[in-house]
Symmetry: C2
Subunit: 267 residues, 2 copies
């Protein structure tokens, strides 16, 4: 692997570039992004140079798509005809079903492996990029590729293999559902005058996600609505069950089971 293109040099793309360098990658790193992002990435030394998409794709052994989901879907349709035969194309999009399906049609010369690093920060942009962002974090791939796997291991991430469907179903429950819960809770608390007078750590922890900007969520809901709807249905049903049990001694069993599940998540 001699040349890597990072398409979308923000927090994730920039961190992947810095992580590759730290892990010993000595080839060329090309950035494809807006002028402002490219300038910041050059200043941050995350990339060696900037090129337009098709020029970058034509010389790359690995094309890393770290754009918003709708832009990834668009980029997939533009790079295959110019890519080197056998080049690796992977992405960092938060949902996988639509992206992998689109890639299956669009990517022929190159090889596509869907990816999702389970890492992030509250703030975005290459200014926040961090060579250690992926350390110890799960990194989902939707298919195998020894070259890509070896670099992902070298940047310190934990490889997890899931089908696109499994991935989307699991993140609907562990990530997309928590976001909607937090947004709904913040709205309900916000509707209570004086709630801030008594809000403690519980309210703070559960409303932190509500601070997230909508722009990344638009694409996530658009490309995973079915799984998100199923996760919401399961959660609403469980909460209705608990609501009916406020004075029922069997609530203790619900608390015990949930506590065990929360512990299992932490093992």
């Amino acid at each position: 692997m001699k040349t890597v293109s990072i398409v979308g040099v923000g927090l994730i793309g920039g961190s992947f570039a810095l992580a590759l360098r730290k892990a010993g990658f000595s080839g060329r790193i090309v950035g494809v992004s807006s002028q402002a992002a490219v300038d910041a990435a050059l200043a941050r030394r995350a990339i060696d140079e900037a090129l337009p998409l098709r020029e970058a794709a034509a010389i790359s052994d690995l094309i890393y798509l770290a754009q918003p989901i709708d832009r990834i879907l668009q980029t997939l349709g533009e790079i295959d005809s110019v890519s080197k035969p056998g080049a690796i194309v992977t992405d960092a999009g938060s949902t996988k079903r639509e992206i992998v399906a689109r890639a299956a049609k669009a990517i022929r010369h190159a090889r596509f492996i869907g990816g999702h690093p389970m890492a992030g920060k509250e703030s975005r942009g290459v200014e926040e990029a961090d060579a250690d962002l992926f350390q110890g974090r799960p990194y989902v791939l939707t298919s195998r590729n020894p070259d890509l796997e070896s670099w992902i291991e070298r940047i310190g991430a934990r490889l997890v293999f899931l089908t696109p469907e499994e991935h989307d179903r699991l993140v609907a429950v562990t990530s997309h559902l928590p976001q909607l819960i937090s947004t709904a809770l913040a709205a309900v608390i916000g509707a209570q005058t004086e709630a801030e007078k008594v809000a403690g750590p519980a309210a703070m922890d559960l409303t932190r996600l509500a601070l997230s900007p909508y722009d990344i969520w638009r694409d996530i809901f658009a490309t995973n609505a079915e799984a998100v709807d199923a996760a919401l249905a399961a959660f609403l049903a469980k909460l209705q069950t608990l609501r009916a049990m406020l004075r029922n001694p069997e609530m203790e069993l619900e608390f015990e089971a949930a506590s065990e599940a929360a512990k299992a998540l932490r093992r």
Copy 2:
């Protein structure tokens, strides 16, 4: 104020005793608790001596009830006849309506002021007690009392005055609802095999409360079921609204409003 009794020398009672000392209280601190709790409190130097409830009540200028809610309700019925006229009785229970109503009937010689320090820790017991536990935290009182207010300010807490009804309505939304949400989410995530493979900070933050033991919650739900039910109804309605909007561009307005509410909570 020469003699203070702490009834229930656990995390809160023990911390209140240590905080009083740190704030310059030079009188006698008597503990009323189980033998094990009293031994631990003496070892921790949180109390000067231990006495049975009625003996302690008879000599105290301030009686601080830091027991579980059902025990507070019981203690209120046992102390008034032996208390000094004009002694202050206050409590640290997590709901206020039932406690204040019970006190209005039971406390005649002494003066009752309902209280709720919005402070805590994940672990309990006097071993975890901390003189700084109340520093900067809201401390709700349901009525005024200059002596009590002055000590609460001296231990570093922020005084908040609320009626018992206001208090219970607000904590239903900011504390009791988050607990039930976290318990329900942990149960839903627990039902998904392999969810732990992709669980990130969102899932961790939102399932932390699910680790709480049920014993304190039994009394909270029993004494605040109506307000908790109303909070659940508001939350379920909001989440149903969001569910219907997964592909609707107006979801952006919901995210913006919730984000503003979450920011307001942090001001």
